[in-house]
Assembly symmetry: C2
Homo-oligomer: 126 residues x 2
């Protein structure tokens, strides 16, 4: 009955994934995250996966799903801290983490969120 | 062979404890934290224990020890997110977490660290 804690820092939520994500833990995390985004009005979610040595298609789908859910709730999800070996495996497996933003580490992820927060949308740089 | 990830945010390190702390994991965390403080020049360490439902004397000693080590390295450790039930049990057991600073949550812990950073020492308010 584990539950992954969600830390709030300003308008940003931080989740560190340290344990193997079983179905139930992953579902719980999705629920907790969406209700926390709703409760706090957070505009950004950082998911740190630096402790994960394996990111399989299940975790990939979960990250994409969380990203989609928070996006509907008007919050941007950034996955940070991916180990180089994990990135290599992902590409080799053909998993592209579609729709999931990534950043090197928490600091860069926060900078990315601040940028989007400040400028509304950084996609329109015309 | 678990390892608790240490996240850097500015001059602050953040550790979220989610798993039961075995001796080896705890020792590893102490080593990792002290070397990261040395490497990054961090002045504050936040340890989030919101996922812990039990804080026994072993964890209490570990927190005190981490606090002591980082203090020698010129970084302040703040333990955040303690569950109310844990606080009750600690007091009932007569464990006082001596030398360990606590704060309600990550945000307040960060504010405490910023205060100490900005003012040098907030103990001398004369």
């Amino acid at each position: 009955m584990e539950r992954i804690p969600i830390l709030q820092m300003g308008k940003c939520l931080l989740v560190t994934i340290q344990v193997d994500l079983q179905d139930r833990v992953a579902m719980q995390l999705q629920e907790d995250l969406s209700s926390t985004v709703e409760k706090t009005g957070a505009t950004g979610v950082l998911i740190d996966i630096s402790a994960l040595e394996i990111v399989d298609s299940f975790i990939g789908r979960m990250l994409a799903s969380i990203s989609g859910i928070t996006s509907v709730l008007d919050a941007t999800t950034v996955v940070v801290g991916m180990q180089p070996a994990v990135a290599i495996t992902l590409v080799e497996l053909g998993l592209s983490l579609e729709g999931v933003r990534t950043a090197l580490n928490v600091e860069r992820g926060m900078a990315l969120l601040r940028l989007r927060d400040g400028e509304g949308s950084d996609d329109t740089n015309a």
